[in-house]
C-alpha cells in the first residue's frame, strides 16, 4: 500500500539528512507503528506519505514514495486526499470549520461526495467515535480528548485507504486513549484500513501493532519486523517489554495479558521480597524565600491589596501549599468543588483524572492565575492571586503544558539572562541549571529549534532559577521519548530530595508510579481519591501501571523496583 524506495529527505540549513535511504513497504490492512527516539525523523516520514513533505514543508526529497500506486512526486497532497487521511500532533491546527459536524463533513465536501452519502457517513462516524452528543458544539469548547477524536473522525469520513497519525494518544487520558485505539483497531479489522502511526507511549499501542518500524537514530536505516522482534533491539520500550527482557521471557510479551501468563515464575521469585515502601518524606526544608525587594505601590497599600497575605506568616505553616475547600467557577461551570489538598516539602504529588477534570485549573489556582471562588489557597503562607508575580515566582513555579509559552528570547543564553533578572538570582544561575539538565546545548541555539524534551528542560531551568519551594508541572511527558522521560524522572527525584514539593498533573500512569509519593484523582472538579500512590493506583484498572497489572496481587509499581528486588544491576 505504501512504498518507500531509497527515500532521503534533506531540509535547507540542516546539518545532515533527516531521513536517508529509507526502503519500506507497508502492506494493505496493517497497523504499523513507527517508533524511535525524538528527532529521528518520524514526523518527516509520516509527512512524506501524505505528500506534505516536501510539497508543503520544503526540503528535498529524493527517491520515490508511492501510495496505492500514486507517486507523491506527481500528486499534490490534495490529490491524495481521498486516499490518505492525516492527523498531526496538534489537533487544534487541523480544524478548518468551527462545529463538530461541519468538521466531519469538510473532507467529504472537498472530494465532492453525494449529500446522502455524506450524511450517512457523518452519522456513522459520530457513533463510531462517540461524538453524537457533541455534534453541534463549537470545536473550541471541546476538551483535548474530544478534539483528538474529532480530528480522527474528520479524516475517517472520506474512507481513506491509509490513515497516518502522529502521536494520536499522547495528549489523552488513559481511558480516552483506549477509546481511540479501539476505534483504530476496528478500522483495521473491519474496513481493512492501513494505519501508520508514530507514538511515544508504546505501553499503550505496541500490543495493537501488526508490525513495528524502528528508526534507531537520525539518518539510520529503518528496521521493520514483528513487534516482539523489533522490541528486543529497540532503544525505546514500554515497561512490559522491559520486564520481559529482565525476566528473560522468550518471545517478548507485548501486552499485559501475555506477560501475566508467563509471570507465575517471576511472582514466585518475588514472593519473599516485600515491595519497597516509599520512604517517609524527610527532606530538608528549604530556607524561606527572602523578602521581596519590590515595594508595594502607594495605591496598592491604600487599597489594602496583599494585606491579608502579609498577615499570615510563613513559619506557622509547615506545608508548602495548603488548599482548603477550594471552589472555582468559570461562568456557569464549576471547574473545582470543595477540593482540599496539602503538599509537604519534599513530597511529590501526581494529579490524575480525565481531560477536563480540573487538574490544570487547580495548578493555575496554586500560582495565582485563577482566583478561587470559595475556599482558601495558601502557598508558602501567601494567597497566590493577591501576591505580586515578582514575589510569587520565589514561592511557586509552574511549567505549563506548552513549555514554549515560557520562552520569549531568541537564544538560550538570552533566555537564561532574562530568567536570572526576573528571579533576582545571581547571574549565571540559570545557565548552570541548564547545563545540568540539558548538557551540550550551545548558548546561541534558538529555543524553537530545541526538541520537545530539551524545551521542557529549558523551561524547567527557567522556572527553577527562582528556587521555588513548590514546583508544578502540567503534563510534562507529552511528546517525550523514554530516554527524555527517564532524565526528567532523575531530575525531579533530585529536586524532591532537596526539599522541593512537586505537583504534577499527568495522564502518564508510568510516570506517576515512578515519581509520586501520593496520587490525587480528580473527577468533575472533585477529589475522588487521595492517598499513597500504591493504594490508589494498584486497585484502579485505568491508572495502574503495567508492572502492577502484570505482577498483581503483588504490589510492584515499576520495573526498577523489580530489578532492585532481584538484585540485578540496572
Amino acid at each position: 500500500m505504501i512504498r518507500f524506495e531509497q527515500v532521503s529527505v534533506h531540509y535547507e540549513g540542516a546539518a545532515g539528512a533527516t531521513l536517508s535511504g529509507v526502503d519500506l513497504t507497508v502492506p494493505e490492512g496493517e497497523l504499523v507503528l513507527l517508533v524511535g527516539p525524538s528527532g529521528v525523523g518520524k514526523s518527516t516520514l509520516l509527512g512524506a506519505v501524505s505528500g506534505l513533505v516536501p510539497h508543503f514543508t520544503g526540503g528535498t526529497l529524493s527517491g520515490r514514495v508511492t501510495v496505492d500506486g500514486r507517486d507523491t512526486r506527481t500528486h499534490k497532497p490534495r490529490e491524495l486526499a481521498d486516499l490518505v487521511g492525516t492527523v498531526g500532533q496538534d489537533p487544534l491546527s487541523h480544524f478548518v470549520t468551527d462545529t463538530v459536524e461541519d468538521e466531519l463533513a469538510y473532507g467529504m465536501e472537498s472530494l465532492g461526495l453525494a449529500p446522502d452519502v455524506m450524511r450517512r457517513r457523518v452519522e456513522e462516524t459520530l457513533d463510531l467515535l462517540g461524538l453524537a452528543g457533541l455534534r453541534d458544539r463549537p470545536i473550541a469548547t471541546l476538551s483535548g480528548g474530544q478534539q483528538q477524536r474529532v480530528a480522527i473522525g474528520s479524516v475517517l469520513t472520506p474512507h481513506p485507504k491509509v490513515l497516518v497519525l502522529d502521536e494520536p494518544t499522547s495528549a489523552l487520558d488513559p481511558a480516552a486513549a483506549e477509546e481511540v485505539l479501539a476505534v483504530l483497531q476496528r478500522l483495521v479489522h473491519d474496513l481493512g484500513t492501513t494505519v501508520l502511526m508514530a507514538e511515544h507511549r508504546l505501553e499503550r499501542v505496541v500490543q495493537y501493532a501488526d508490525q513495528v518500524v524502528l528508526l534507531p537514530s537520525p539518518g539510520a536505516a529503518p528496521v521493520m519486523g514483528a513487534p516482539a522482534d523489533v522490541m528486543a533491539l529497540s532503544p525505546v520500550r514500554p515497561p512490559v517489554v522491559a520486564l520481559g527482557r529482565l525476566a528473560g521471557w522468550e518471545p517478548l510479551p507485548l501486552s499485559v495479558r501475555d506477560a501475566r501468563r508467563r509471570a507465575a515464575g517471576l511472582r514466585e521469585r518475588l514472593a519473599p521480597v516485600r515491595p519497597p515502601v516509599p520512604e517517609p518524606v524527610t527532606a530538608p526544608v528549604l530556607p524561606p524565600p527572602a523578602p521581596s525587594p519590590v515595594r508595594r505601590g502607594a495605591l496598592a497599600r491604600l487599597l489594602g491589596r496583599g494585606a491579608r497575605a502579609a498577615d499570615v506568616p510563613g513559619s506557622v505553616d509547615d506545608a508548602t501549599a495548603r488548599v482548603e475547600r477550594l471552589g472555582v467557577r468559570r461562568g456557569r461551570v464549576e471547574a473545582l468543588r470543595r477540593v482540599t489538598l496539602t503538599v509537604a516539602p519534599g513530597e511529590t504529588v501526581a494529579l490524575m483524572g480525565r481531560n477536563g477534570a480540573g487538574k490544570s485549573t487547580l495548578l493555575a489556582t496554586l500560582v495565582g492565575m485563577v482566583e478561587p471562588t470559595t475556599g482558601t489557597v495558601l502557598v508558602g503562607g501567601r494567597t497566590p492571586h493577591r501576591t505580586e508575580p515578582r514575589d510569587m515566582v520565589r514561592r511557586v513555579g509552574l511549567v505549563p503544558q506548552e513549555p514554549r509559552d515560557l520562552l520569549y528570547a531568541d537564544t538560550v543564553a538570552a533566555e537564561c539572562a532574562a530568567a536570572d533578572s526576573d528571579a533576582g538570582a545571581a547571574p549565571g544561575s540559570c545557565r548552570a541549571l541548564v547545563s545540568e539538565l540539558l548538557p551540550g546545548v550551545p548558548d546561541d541555539t534558538h529555543p524553537r529549534d530545541l526538541s520537545e524534551g530539551q524545551r521542557l528542560a529549558l523551561a524547567l531551568a527557567v522556572v527553577l532559577t527562582a528556587r521555588p519551594p513548590l514546583l508544578l508541572l502540567d503534563e510534562p511527558t507529552r511528546g517525550l521519548d523514554y530516554a527524555a522521560k527517564a532524565r526528567l524522572v532523575g531530575v525531579l527525584r533530585g529536586l524532591a530530595a532537596d526539599g522541593h514539593a512537586i505537583v504534577l498533573a499527568t495522564h502518564d500512569v508510568e510516570l506517576a508510579a515512578e515519581l509520586a509519593h501520593r496520587v490525587v484523582i480528580l473527577a468533575d472538579g472533585e477529589t475522588v481519591a487521595d492517598g499513597e500512590t500504591r493504594e490508589v493506583v494498584v486497585s484502579s484498572p485505568a491508572f495502574a501501571p503495567q508492572t502492577a497489572k502484570i505482577l498483581a496481587p503483588q504490589e510492584w509499581l515499576t520495573v526498577a523496583q523489580v530489578r532492585a528486588a532481584l538484585g540485578e544491576p540496572s
Binding site: 490529490e79 492525516t86 465532492g112
Partner: protein, 385 residues
C-alpha cells in the same frame, strides 16, 4: 382568562409555535443577514432619533430572544459599544471642526485657530451651536444604528456560516477569507496565554513593555498556526478542481466581475438617498449576470454541500420582515420626508411618526418565528439520529 384555558390554547396551537433549534431547522445565515440589512437600510433612511432608537430596540429584543450560547453570539454588545464610540467621534469632530449647519443657539465658543487664506473653507475651533451638535448627534446615531444591525446579524449567524450559502465557485475564496479572519481571535487567545506565562516568569502583565515583549511571539505563533491550517486543508482536499475549457473560464470571469460591479453600484444607489431610480434595475441586472457567472464557475469546483441550510417558511418570514421594514421606511420617506428627518434649524423636538414606527415593529417577527435555542441550563434534548 384562567390558567388552564391559557395552557389549553397553547397546546392546541403547538404546531405553529417555534420549535427548539437544531441543525435541521437552523435558519440559513442569509435569512438573518437579510433581516439585519433590512433594518440597516431602514436606519439609513431616517435621522429621527426615536425611530433609530426603536430600530436598535427591535434588533436588541430579537437578539435577546433568539441568540445561542456560542462564542460569536456576544457580538451584539460589542457592536453597541462601537456604535456609541462612533457617536462620540462624530460629536467631537463636529465640535472641533465646525459644521456647515447654520445655527443661532450658541452653546459655547472655542478659541478659533486662525487659518491662512488658501484654507478658507477649513475652520478649527470657534462657535459651537446647539443645532450643529444635534445634527451631529442624529447623524452619528444613524451610523451607530447601522453598525448595531450588523452586530445583530453577527450574533445569530457567524459570517463563516454565510459560506454555506455561497455558490461553489466562490467557496474556496470564502474559506481562505474565513481562515484569515480566525487569525484575530486566535491572536487574542495567544495574547492571553502569553500574559499568563509572563506572570509565571514573575513579570508584570500590564504596561507597554509587556505588550512589546509578547508581540513577537504572538505573531510568530499566529503565522505558524496559519501554515499548519493551510497544510491540513491541503491534505484534506481543499482546492481540488475539475478541468474546464478556457472559453467557459473566460465567460465566467467576465460575467462574474461585471455582475458584481453592477451589484455594488446598484446597492450604493439604493443606500444613498439619491439615485434610487437607477439603483434597483442596476442591482437586478448585476445579480442576474453574477448568478450566471457563478453557475458557470461552479463547474470547475468538485465540491458538494453537506446539509445546506434550507429556506423554509420561517426563513422567508425572517428575511421578509427585514425587507418589509426597509420597504416601508423607503415608502414613508417618499410620502412624508419631514417626519423621518426632524428639523435641526430651527430646533424642534423630534416626533414619533406613527406609521413608520409601526412598520419598524414588523422587525420583531423573528423573535416569534425563529426556532428557540435550547436553554443553556436544561439538558439537551435527544439528537435526531
Amino acid at each position: 382568562m384562567t390558567a388552564p384555558t391559557g395552557s389549553a390554547v397553547l397546546a392546541r396551537s403547538r404546531p405553529l409555535r417555534a420549535p427548539e433549534a437544531n441543525r435541521s431547522n437552523a435558519l440559513p445565515a442569509g435569512a438573518w443577514w437579510l433581516w439585519a440589512l433590512g433594518l440597516a437600510t431602514a436606519a439609513s433612511r431616517t435621522t429621527n432619533p426615536l425611530l433609530l432608537g426603536l430600530l436598535v430596540g427591535v434588533a436588541g429584543y430579537v437578539v435577546a430572544a433568539r441568540r445561542t450560547d456560542v462564542p460569536w453570539a456576544r457580538s451584539y454588545g460589542t457592536f453597541i459599544r462601537i456604535g456609541l464610540f462612533v457617536v462620540g467621534v462624530r460629536l467631537v469632530f463636529s465640535v472641533f471642526l465646525g459644521s456647515p449647519i447654520p445655527g443661532t443657539h450658541t452653546v459655547f465658543t472655542l478659541p478659533e485657530v486662525p487659518m491662512p487664506d488658501w484654507a478658507k473653507g477649513v475652520r478649527v475651533g470657534g462657535r459651537v451651536t446647539a443645532e450643529q451638535l444635534l445634527f451631529a448627534l442624529y447623524d452619528g446615531a444613524k451610523l451607530a444604528t447601522l453598525l448595531i444591525c450588523v452586530g445583530a446579524a453577527n450574533s445569530f449567524a457567524n459570517p463563516a456560516r454565510l459560506l454555506k450559502s455561497l455558490p461553489g465557485a466562490l467557496y474556496e475564496a470564502g474559506v481562505a477569507v474565513v481562515v484569515a479572519m480566525t487569525f484575530a481571535p486566535n491572536m487574542v487567545a495567544d495574547v492571553m496565554r502569553l500574559r499568563t506565562a509572563r506572570r509565571l516568569r514573575g513579570r508584570p502583565t500590564r504596561g507597554v513593555k509587556a505588550v512589546l515583549q509578547i508581540g513577537l511571539p504572538v505573531l510568530e505563533g499566529a503565522l505558524e498556526r496559519s501554515v499548519a491550517v493551510a497544510a491540513s486543508m491541503d491534505a484534506r482536499g481543499y482546492g481540488r478542481t475539475a478541468q474546464v475549457p478556457p472559453a467557459v473560464r473566460h465567460t465566467t470571469n467576465v460575467l462574474t466581475l461585471g455582475g458584481l460591479l453592477g451589484v455594488c453600484a446598484g446597492t450604493y444607489g439604493l443606500l444613498a438617498a439619491q439615485g434610487a431610480v437607477y439603483g434597483l434595475p442596476l442591482l437586478l441586472a448585476g445579480l442576474v449576470a453574477a448568478t450566471a457567472g457563478l453557475r458557470l464557475g461552479g463547474a470547475r469546483s468538485v465540491r458538494t454541500r453537506y446539509r445546506p441550510d434550507r429556506w423554509g417558511a420561517r426563513a422567508w418570514l425572517v428575511a421578509g420582515s427585514g425587507a418589509a421594514v426597509a420597504v416601508a421606511m423607503i415608502w414613508a420617506g417618499s410620502v412624508d420626508e419631514a417626519a423621518l428627518h426632524p428639523g435641526v434649524v430651527p430646533l424642534a423636538a423630534p416626533v414619533l411618526p406613527l406609521w413608520p414606527a409601526a412598520a419598524v415593529l414588523i422587525g420583531l417577527l423573528p423573535a416569534v418565528v425563529a426556532p428557540v435555542p435550547p436553554s443553556a441550563g436544561a439538558p439537551r434534548s435527544k439528537e435526531i439520529q
